[in-house]
Each structure stands twice: as C-alpha cells, then as structure tokens.
Symmetry: C2
Subunit: 470 residues, 2 copies
C-alpha cells in the first residue's frame, strides 16, 4: 500500500502522517485508531497522534470524523489545536465546532493565525459572537481584523494578509537584508518586499530572488520592479483571482481608495477562490446552489426543492401546451409516444450551448469580437444538428410507424427546436448577465422551458395542422 501511496501521492518525509490511500484519503484504520483514543478521552495519546500533522491534514481528519468526535478532538487537543485547520474544512463543519467552543477559546486560537486566516474564520461567525471574540483580542490585531471585515464579503480586502514588509526606495540591498536579519516581527512567509513612499503609496515591488542576486551597495529603487500591479481592496475576489491568472502572480499588493498599501493577496487564497468559483457555477447550473458535501438532509432538501418548484412550474407550462392538443393526440397516440423525443433532444442541445456560454461569461472570455463569433456559431450549430437529427429521427419514425408524413412532421419540429435551443442557449445567459443576474443560477430553467414548449408546440402543432389540412 505504501508503494502505491508513493506513486499516487506526494511522499511527505515526516513519516507520512496520517497515512493516505491511493486516492489521497486518510487511511480509515488510522481514523479508527484516533477515534478510539478520542472516545477513551486519552488526551495524551490523541495529541501524540495529531502532533506531526500539517494543518491541512488536521482539517481532513476533522472532516472524516463525525460531529461529536470533532468537538471532542478539539477539546482534547486544547491549545495544541491549530485553528488554521478550521480554514481547511467546510463551513458547516466549522460552525458546528464553534458552537461548542467558548468565545475566549476561539479568540485564543484566532489570535495565533495570519490575518487572512483569522478573517476567514471570523466572517462566518454570528456578529454578536464575532464582536465578543474580537473584544478579547489584542488591540492591534483587533483593529486590522475589523478593517478587513469592513470590506464587502468576497472582496480582496477580506482575503488579504495585512502583515507584509514595506521599505523605502532609498535603502540599499545591504540595508534591506540587514533589516530582514535583524527584525524579529516579520510575517512567517513572504515572496516579495514592497517599496513605498512616506505616505505608504506603492512605488514598486522587490522580488526576493532579485534582492538576493543584487550587490549589497545597490539601491532598491534601481532594481525594484516598478510595473506595479495593484488590486483595490473593494474589488471582488474573483476579479482579483483573474488578475493572478492573467499575470501569473504569486503575491499582489492590495491598496485602499487613497491608493495606500493595506495588504497583500497570496496565490494560495486565490487558488481556493478559483476552485470555489468553478464548483459554484457547476452547482448553480444544476440547481444545487452553494451546497456543501457535509450539508445535512434538511439543508439539501431546502436548497434543492426551491429549484424543483421552479422546474415544476416550467413542467406544468409544457403540460399546458400539450393540453392544447389533446384532441390531436386522441386522434393519433403515436404523437404522445414521440413528443418527448423532440423536447428532450432540444433540451440537451440547449444545455450544451448554455454551458459553453455560461462558462465563457464566468471567465470573462466574451469580448464583443468573441461574442459575435459565439452567437453566429451557435445558430449554425443548431441548424446543422437540427438537420442531422431531423433526418435521423424522421426516417426512423417513418419506418417505425410506416407513416412518412409523421416522419416529415417530427423532422420539421426537430429542426425548429434545435434552432430554438441554440438561440435560447446563448441569448438567455447573455440577457441575464446584462441584467446583472448570475447566468449560472437561472439559465438552465429558462432554456429547458423554451426547448420543451417549442418542442411540444412545434411537433403537436405541425401534426395538427398537417392532419387538419390533409
């Protein structure tokens, strides 16, 4: 097993704790062993097991345990428990743990964190508790955390790390290195040093590799990187993430309205943002909202039933459409047998177009050029697929029901619906986006509604017309 683990997982030299299986899941036996010690309340044995773990591993362990065991574990570890692990677990798991911890305890844990992690934990806590926790923190931490929390949710200001290294441009490389060697109170990790004027306005960035390679006497402003890329603290975190992606950044400066340097964003936070964003779109399209894997039945039912109610309404609409033609259907039951095909084919084609459009919008890929290209392409694709499948389904129907007219009718309906699908699939997301509604939320409903209605109406309508005429 350990061989397999090594080929599929990174080998962390610290004796691979906790052991993980091929998929990178923590070994159930290890969890079981931990579980036993937790139930036995053996604090010593538990902290012995947990001690070597990276915060991320601790997070995975918490998620692998059930509710009581989690709280018990945190309690047993006491101040040995690193709150950073809580930034790695689902919100629901976190809240559940916080519910069972006294605010003083939470304050102690939060105080030990980097400002960005601290904010990540505090922002989901009830305002009342949050203020109580903040009040228990040292003044300086409290102020910088409050400032971050004042920025809108999901903004760069919320994600930023507020301790960073800023130096004046007239320092030499030597001075800077001596400062770094001498100064005790620096961030644990940093990739860049920021060059600012007296008013903390950003002048440039000093990557560590350039600093290391420069001679001691050289002045910082001569070698600093003056093409500064800044992010505004109020800017949305997804915008910020795109900046990281576009310019392949590892760290970026965050400035306030008056352009003063207030913090830095690091890539690891952005990676989470990118992941969340993509998952979110995917789930919204399917009507699962921001559901977590760890959400309970009640939450899941609530979040999903709302969407199902909407689709019930659209389904009723198409059933009403069918109702208009019950006489025609009575004449020829074959129509009832065939109609779902027209509708579902259109639905699938529409979903394809919609997905492409929604994703392109989410990734801000659609400038006016590409937009025009996309629209015309989708029309054409609809037409082509319409023709292809009209022929297919038309012939099959003809043979199956020995009825060429029926084949012709369903073929025509198919073409109509495929074009409708292409049109709806691209126009609906675009329209929603125009009206500042997240296309991922509502597009699917509208698109399938249209393809169903058009599908049933065109097929049954054409059939009725046909048999009425001849």
């Amino acid at each position: 097993m350990s061989d397999q683990t090594e080929t599929l997982e990174p080998n962390v030299r610290t004796g691979d704790v906790p052991p993980r299986d091929a998929d990178g899941h923590i070994d159930p036996d290890w969890i079981q062993a931990l579980r036993l010690r937790i139930d036995a309340g053996d604090a010593e044995a538990v902290s012995e097991l947990m001690a070597p773990l990276h915060a991320a591993d601790t997070g995975d362990v918490l998620e692998a345990l059930d509710a009581e065991a989690r709280v018990a574990l945190v309690r047993l570890l006491g101040d040995q428990f690193d709150f950073e692990a809580l930034t790695e677990v689902d919100e629901s798991v976190r809240n559940e743990i916080f519910e069972h911890l006294p605010n003083a305890e939470i304050a102690r844990g939060v105080a030990a964190l980097d400002s960005d992690d601290a904010v990540a934990l505090l922002e989901d806590i009830e305002p009342v508790d949050r203020d109580d926790i903040l009040s228990k923190l040292p003044a300086f931490e409290r102020l910088s955390l409050r400032r971050s929390l004042d920025y809108p949710e999901d903004s760069a200001g919320r994600r930023m790390q507020t301790d960073f290294i800023a130096i004046p441009p007239f320092w030499t490389v030597g001075q800077t290195i001596d400062y770094l060697r001498g100064e005790k109170d620096l961030p644990d990790e940093f990739y860049q040093i920021y060059v600012v004027d007296a008013g903390y306005k950003l002048l440039g960035m000093m990557p560590l590799d350039k600093l290391l390679r420069a001679q001691r006497k050289v002045q910082i402003e001569e070698i600093m990187n003056a093409d500064v890329i800044e992010v505004e603290a109020g800017q949305d975190q997804e915008e910020a993430a795109r900046v990281f992606e576009r310019y392949d950044l590892v760290e970026v400066a965050v400035v306030d309205d008056s352009k003063r340097l207030v913090g830095v964003l690091t890539i690891d936070d952005m990676v989470d943002v990118i992941h969340e964003e993509a998952t979110e779109d995917m789930q919204l399209l399917a009507g699962v909202g921001d559901e977590d894997l760890s959400d309970g039945v009640r939450d899941a039912v609530r979040s999903r039933s709302t969407w199902l109610v909407v689709s019930l309404l659209t389904a009723s609409l198409s059933s009403l459409v069918i109702g208009l033609f019950d006489a025609t259907i009575e004449q020829m039951v074959a129509l009832a047998v065939l109609m779902p095909m027209v509708a579902s084919m259109g639905g699938n084609a529409g979903t394809q177009t919609m997905t492409v459009t929604v994703r392109a919008l989410a990734m801000r890929e659609l400038d006016s050029f590409k937009l025009r290209r996309l629209v015309s392409r989708e029309m054409l694709v609809g037409l082509c697929n319409g023709a292809i499948f009209a022929l297919l389904i038309g012939v099959v129907t003809w043979l199956r029901f020995a009825n060429p007219e029926l084949g012709l009718v369903i073929g025509m309906a198919m073409v109509v619906n495929m074009i409708a699908a292409g049109t709806a699939g691209v126009l609906i997301p675009l329209t929603l986006d125009r009206f500042k509604i997240d296309p991922a939320v509502a597009s699917a409903t509208f698109v399938t509604m249209i393809t169903d209605v058009v599908g049933f109406f065109s097929f049954l309508g054409l059939a009725g017309l046909w048999f009425h005429l001849f």
Copy 2:
C-alpha cells in the same frame, strides 16, 4: 471610463496598455487601431503598439483578432514576438498560427522560452514537425525538452520547469548568496532553492525568505526545510494540483523514479490545471467535451452531435416505454398531458444529486466515511422531495382534471421517480468511477435515461393498473 477601469481592474502602471473595459476586455478601439496598422503592413507602428504588452496581454490581443490578422501580426513582429503569448491562447488559435509559421521560426521562439512553456507549445504539435523543431534547438534544450515530452500527457513531468537552483547542504548562507550573485545562468524567477546530495537526491528546501533572514555563516542544512513534499514526474497533473492546494505550496519538487530531482512545478501552471479541470467537468456533464470557445462550427457540431446521438437513443428508449402504454393513453389523453412532468421532475432531481456526486469525486472528497454519509443523505433527500412534490402535483392534478385517482397515481409515480433519481444520481457516477470511467462524461445520460424510463413507466404503468383494476 478609465476611473471605472481602475476600480474594477488592476492598474498596471505602465500606462494601462492595452486599455481594458470594465470586464477586463481589451478596448475594441485599441484593437481596431492595431488592426488598421496590421492591414497596412506597418511593422514599425505595430511593434510600437505591441512593445509594452505583457505576454498575457499579447495573448488576449491574438484571441481578439481574426485568423488572418493573428498570423499577420506574428509575421510583422518577427523576432520581437514573444512566444510565451502563445501559452495564453486556446489550442485552436495556437495551431492555426503554427500552421503559417516555418519550423525554424517556431524553433527560434521556443528556444527563448522557459522549459515548461516550451513543452506546453510543443506537445500539441504534430510529431513530425515537433521533431523537426527540436532538431533545430541547441543540444541541451533539446534533451531536457525531449525528457519532459517523454512523460505521459497531463503528467507533472510535462508541466515541470527543468531549470532550478540546487545546492549542497554543507554550503553556508554566505556561499549561497555569493553564488546567486555571481552565477549568470539562473532561472529568471525562483521562490525556493533545492538542497540535494551528490546524487541529486532531494534533502530539503530553502525558501528565499528564510535564506535572507539567516546569518551568512550559518550552514544551509541547519536552516533548510527538511519536510520535503515531492511529486513524481509520472503523476497526473491534477493529483499534483491537489497537492499544491492541500499544502498551500508555491513551488514543489518533481522527482523521477529513482527519486532524483528533475524539475520543479510552479503554482501558476497549477492554477491553469485547476481551472481546466473544473471547466472540463462542467462541460463534460453537459456533453460539450473539451470544446474551446474558439472552436469552429464543424468541431462544435462534431463534438456535440456524438453526445446528441447518445441522448437520441435514450430518448427513443423512453418513447418505446411510452409505446407500451398507447392503449392506456388512448383511454385517457390526460396521461399524455401529464407524463412529461413526472419525467422532467425526476430528471432535475437526478441531475442535482449527480452533480454533487461528480464534483465530490473529481475533488477526491469522498473517503469511505463521507461516501456512506452521501448515499444515505441522497436517498433521504429523494424521499423528502418525492413526498413534497407528490403532494403538490397530486393535488393540482386532482383539481385540474377533477380526478382524485389521477392525482393519487401521479403522486405515487412522483415518489417512485424521485427516489429513483436520488439513487441513480449517486450510484451511477460512483459505479463509473469504480470502472475508471470519468463520471463526468457519462453520468448525465444514464441518470436522465433512468429518470425518464422510471418516470414514464411508473406513471403510465400505475395508471394502467389502476384503471384496469377499477
């Protein structure tokens, strides 16, 4: 406008070239101006416009132009054109440009790139051309690129950067810094230095910030970070990306089978991997495959029609099921009017469960604990939603058709189908995953197939039974 730009986009101090609108799209007027100079074949004016651009911006410009203009631009820029820009554009755009460039030209451009970027360009080129291009490269580059290309597609070995800094453990901080200052041939950017033994086996990592803060006389092995996290070169890039995410890394060492350090992965490549992965899943679920926004109509039709053929087959299946009951429908057309509701509600519920499951699988979130939790939750959710919507639709039907039995029948069918949806939605992806088939590819088809068949069968079947009995 520029104000708006500043609040929504990072202000790159180099005069914001090219200007971008609020969504971060390059200003159409700017593109137009460029376009005119390209058409005029005014090489000087063009390179003047393009000179200040970051490679990423150049990539966006290329994508904003149409096919001929792209090639013309590259031609006009000549050796001023930075091939790194080609790593920022869709594969289709890239190939189109390569088709019009002589291999010697491509070789020149590739030689100037970091190894990971060079591989990214070369891996999509036809083997014949690729070998020709490689043969035109300096021996050292050629060998290291070949080695990377020998690793499987989408492996860490393909993504890795092969120039990195490795030092022996017995060096002092001073020696190391002097080496960095003296040595000319170093990577343009680096975040870590790697500590290796004589056999290039990785002993530890030396983050630059720690190096800067240490005293010159200190020995590297005293301060290096010995908890090495390695990735195997043969490992899948998505596995590697998850390692970055789990441990919040910026750079990770890549080792070969004999554990020798052969390269490094940097976070910026992983960010792209994470994005691709998420987009891929989303598109596969919708049956759009690995389609690019820039794909032409033919490609789009081809990639999508395959999926539509599959859904045509499943649609035919449900139409066959309906066919079984044409007699029943003839007795009561209301059934034809109502049956799509049962099917589509089940389809939507199934899609919800499926999406959650597929995403969880893709992100390797499902250890045995969570798996059990998920399955039982989805069953329950299906039951609850089934009950809720059975009641809703049952009562509505009763009132609409003044027929309580019909309401009862559709209600029962709804419960059955919702439970089927929950079961299929979770079991189908899991089964596919068991058989090493990407659940994102096939799940949707099977799930809707099942919800359609079960929906129509249960509703029409129950109805037939009911009216047969009474």
